[in-house]
Point group: none
Amino acid sequence: MEWGAKAAAAAEAEERGGGCEPLGYVKVMTDEQMEVLRKQISIYATICEQLVEMHRALTEHQDSIAGMRFSNLYCDPLIVPGGHKITARQRWQPTPMQLQILENIFDQGNGTPSKQKIKEITAELSHHGQISETNVYNWISEMHQLQRDQMGGMMYGSNDNNMRTSGTSGQMSFYDNIMSNPRIDHFPGKVESSRSFSHLQHGEGFDMFG
Amino acid sequence: MEWGAKAAAAAEAEERGGGCEPLGYVKVMTDEQMEVLRKQISIYATICEQLVEMHRALTEHQDSIAGMRFSNLYCDPLIVPGGHKITARQRWQPTPMQLQILENIFDQGNGTPSKQKIKEITAELSHHGQISETNVYNWISEMHQLQRDQMGGMMYGSNDNNMRTSGTSGQMSFYDNIMSNPRIDHFPGKVESSRSFSHLQHGEGFDMFG
DNA sequence: CAATTATGAATGAAGG
DNA sequence: CCTTCATTCATAATTG
């Protein structure tokens, strides 16, 4: 089940629930409270920025960062000096010719090719367009996966929950992950209000100003 | 589908459809908006915490830190408002701290640790989150494999496309990524961070502090 | 153009 | 160890 669905459902229920009565379910904040909130957030923002600066200063001389793994963040060094613009990562796309060949290879069975085999295939396909061994590997893997999934679907009828349908079901971006696992228990320093948020960990609502 | 979108949409719909009294004097937030806010604040809190931890680690052994692999954060079982448990993710995810420690160990060379060594490492890492000896073993094995794959000259087809290789190529500091990509700048007016809220960035929607 | 789908890529785990 | 599987992430492609 996804987050949004539940939220939406709740909202709907509330809406149907009746007229203006739902006012009881609405949180109200005064301007002062809003201001307090804003300041608190600003504090966090400032801390983040300062830490960034500190870290930058610390690591300035280290020009070799051996192996950053960013699964969720773009790490393309394609940031334009001036505007911090991020150009889209280019994804490989099989040309029709490559696709044809790949399908032929796949249809011959023989499971997943060995590394050496992949090298050969890649060399062959590179005559028909940009391609890398990784692409070949991924494509074939994916085909096998699809095949498996389809088999499963056939066995269980059209109840193919396991298909690669709605890919958004379990997705959590970088920050979604952080959000789902907020650990602010031992935050050092004195952000005057970390206490104010501590109860949020227990999912008991947002009674900040209560 | 990201939960944020639905939540916001639901909130909007509710506002329009509800037709309740204006309430012009105070700010009104729906539960959904409140939830968004709550989580966004948690984001900052968590980011701050992690930055602090990272900074601490950096200053402790300033010389031996090769970099920061920032993969997904470990995701605890979610408790959804209402009491249900979202099925816990069964796959282990290293926390940033764990990753850093693991990387330190790996960068020290020494090949694959003995079983006893792994036990120790696991014990150490368990202070930073859920982990098992198998996880440690797998991770280190995987790193060696990555290293081998890189040696084999696998990729370099077109600038990206790695098969199980971590990009040693793009030199970009950890914070450059955090700061430039998720765009947690301009905090003053709105709080926004990840893609999840991208729709909110285009005006309307959740103009919380407008 | 926002929401959805399709699919390339990444990666933890299992098997041999 | 190395290979393969299975799941998840991220983005392009598409659709409405």
